[in-house]
């Protein structure tokens, strides 16, 4: 029943500027995050998308304050999450990418432990019911399925009724039904005003949930915006196979990009309906059967694939990291521990 006062209400809840993360040192090091900027407003649900190794989890860990950035700044609710961890923790909930609960404890014992570590914790039973784990309370964590463990993780993240929720791949390993339930829960939380930052590689998840999203590649944010904004300007696509003939040439399609690869033709267009009509008329006129005909509007998936491959072409020659950011004092760089994903 408790309603938290939105402290410092107007500003962004999460503010990330020129974030850098470098693992190891010198030439053997790995530059996982290369200048990420993010702004998440109160009550917003923001999704970080990216291929594996894009730097999503590395970024997430810096925003959560689990490690110090090699460069740049992070502010969550106005605090530096690494240096002011203690001030921030009671107001946020974190779900890591994997586990972190002793296998030999039961679900209820895990809940009891975390309840003791969380100020203003909701009843453990309530948290378990939220994620549909109430009936598994006396089962040891090691006997849970992967999906049940994800839900336990989510329940523990929700224990303190957080203002800001960090979810690192929350639905990985869930069956479709459980995934839908988690989405419903996340939507409810957002409706109650919780700010959510989540990573996912399910584009469908971002499409379903996110107010805004960022697509990461190679440690950088390559695109941000609402789903509609990210898709906008992306061409629709028509593909088909020509029967074995060489006579009639394709009709002129103004503004479209036509690629012919053997018999396979791909048309990228911003005028799907017109060009499709044009093509079908042409095929009818020449009495041609277009094989494997497929026409689709731009989707997040297509936008994502296109953006990722564009980005991959662009950063072939990788610029060296600025010297000032890579040479960290040995003490702090040694404490930069984490998974380079």
């Amino acid at each position: 029943m408790e309603t938290r006062q939105p402290a410092g209400s107007s500003g962004p809840v999460i503010e990330v500027t020129d974030l850098q993360r470098h693992y190891g040192s010198g030439t053997t090091g790995y530059h996982a995050v290369r200048g990420v900027d993010l702004t998440v407003g109160r009550g917003e649900l923001y999704a970080l998308l990216g291929t594996n190794g894009a730097g999503k989890t590395s970024t997430m860990e810096l925003v959560e304050g689990l490690a110090a950035p090699s460069g740049g700044t992070v502010r969550v609710l106005g605090h530096d999450p690494y240096r002011e961890r203690a001030a921030l923790r009671p107001r946020i909930g974190i779900m890591l990418q994997e586990g972190g609960f002793p296998g030999e404890l039961t679900v209820a014992e895990t809940g009891r432990t975390w309840s003791g570590l969380t100020s203003g914790a909701r009843p453990v039973e309530e948290a378990l019911e939220l994620v549909g784990l109430g009936h598994r309370r006396d089962v040891r964590v090691k006997q849970l399925s992967g999906g049940e463990r994800r839900r336990l993780d989510l329940a523990m993240a929700l224990l303190g009724r957080p203002e800001v929720l960090f979810l690192d791949e929350p639905s990985t390993g869930l069956d479709p039904e459980a995934r839908a339930a988690v989405w419903r829960l996340v939507r409810e939380l957002r409706a109650q005003g919780t700010t959510v930052l989540l990573t996912t590689h399910y584009l469908e998840e971002a499409e379903e949930l996110a107010d805004r999203l960022a697509i990461m590649h190679g440690g950088r944010v390559v695109t941000t915006g609402t789903v509609a904004e990210v898709i906008a300007g992306r061409p629709s696509r028509i593909t088909f196979e020509l029967p074995g003939f060489a006579g009639a040439s394709l009709p002129p399609l103004a503004g479209a990009e036509v690629a012919v690869d053997g018999r396979k033709v791909t048309v990228q267009t911003s005028a799907l309906q017109r060009d499709l009509h044009e093509l079908l008329g042409w095929a009818h006129h020449h009495d041609l059967a277009l094989g494997a005909l497929d026409a689709r509007s731009a989707s997040l998936e297509e936008a994502f694939l296109a953006i990722a491959s564009e980005a991959a072409h662009q950063d072939e020659p990788q610029p060296p990291a600025p010297a000032g950011r890579t040479s960290r004092p040995s003490r702090s760089s040694r404490r930069l521990i984490g998974s380079a994903r």
Partner: protein, 280 residues
């Protein structure tokens, strides 16, 4: 769990000391449950120090035949307590830190409100409690069956125990950084376990050693704590005749100094090298 502090509703860290204690208790309870469900760890902790009593006794008796006046009974009890501290606190806790780290439990705990020191201390609660309980039983047994006298200087006895436990905890955290798996903790802890049992006056009292060796052994990390326990209980570390309460302080000073230096070094090393998650 009934003390959900309403003062923290604004989200600031007005967390009273009670909250920190609640977190420690919570972590300690979880860790105690895990210890009770881990047969081999429990076996090592409970039985090994006790099983070593016979060996200790015969070794001390043998030395007493060459060095008349050696107080075998009190050395046996103090040695057993030293063994308990080494196995129950140092070895057991090293394995616990490695296990929790590899299961990503430590990383997950850092996403919560517990501070780093609380996480480390909370994990140590069952080991330390068990060690103190076992030491109390052994001391009680010594008083009852071996007719040992009351401690000459209980303050120094307590200081010795605290110093030993603190140093063991810090070195356990440090050792865990160089230990890949729970199974290899037996190997990585071995050097310090052997040093503490044979080089700190437990199996071989310092006064039995050649002077130079004894001087060197006095500088070892676990010697000061154990010797303070001995001084606090018997009034001497064996280098001179036993004194009363007032006289023990001057005997204790060098040990307090070396002990504090080692504790500081171990704590520094632990902070410097401790790893909260395993490298993959």
């Amino acid at each position: 769990m009934t003390t959900a502090a309403p003062t923290s509703a604004t989200g600031t860290t007005t967390g009273p000391r009670g909250t920190a204690l609640r977190r420690l208790a919570s972590l300690g309870r979880s860790e105690a449950t895990l210890l009770l469900r881990n047969r081999s760890a429990l076996f090592t902790a409970l039985l090994l120090p006790v099983l070593m009593i016979a060996g200790r006794r015969s070794m001390l008796k043998q030395q007493a035949s060459d060095h008349p006046g050696l107080d075998v009974d009190s050395l046996l009890i103090i040695g057993t307590i030293g063994g308990i501290l080494a196995f129950v606190v140092y070895y057991n806790l090293t394995a616990a830190y490695v296990g929790r780290r590899n299961e990503l439990v430590l990383k997950r705990l850092r996403t919560g409100e517990a501070r780093d020191l609380e996480i480390l201390a909370g994990t140590a609660v069952p080991s330390v409690s068990l060690a103190l309980l076992m030491s109390a039983v052994v001391a009680g047994g010594g008083a009852a069956f071996l007719h040992l006298g009351a401690p000459v200087n209980p303050l120094l006895l307590a200081a010795g125990l605290l110093l030993s436990i603190g140093t063991m905890m810090a070195t356990a955290a440090l050792t865990s950084a160089f230990t890949k798996t729970v199974e290899t903790a037996g190997i990585t802890t071995l050097p310090l376990v052997l040093l503490s049992q044979f080089g700190s006056g437990l199996f071989i009292p310092l006064e039995v050693m050649p002077d130079r060796v004894a001087d060197f052994c006095r500088l070892l990390p676990t010697t000061p704590g154990f010797q303070l326990v001995r001084i606090g209980w018997t009034g001497t570390d064996g280098s001179a005749a036993a004194t009363g309460f007032g006289g023990t302080w001057s005997t204790a000073v060098p040990h307090l100094v070396t002990g504090a230096v080692w504790l500081g070094l171990a704590a520094w090393g632990a902070v410097r090298y401790f790893r909260w998650e395993s490298r993959r």
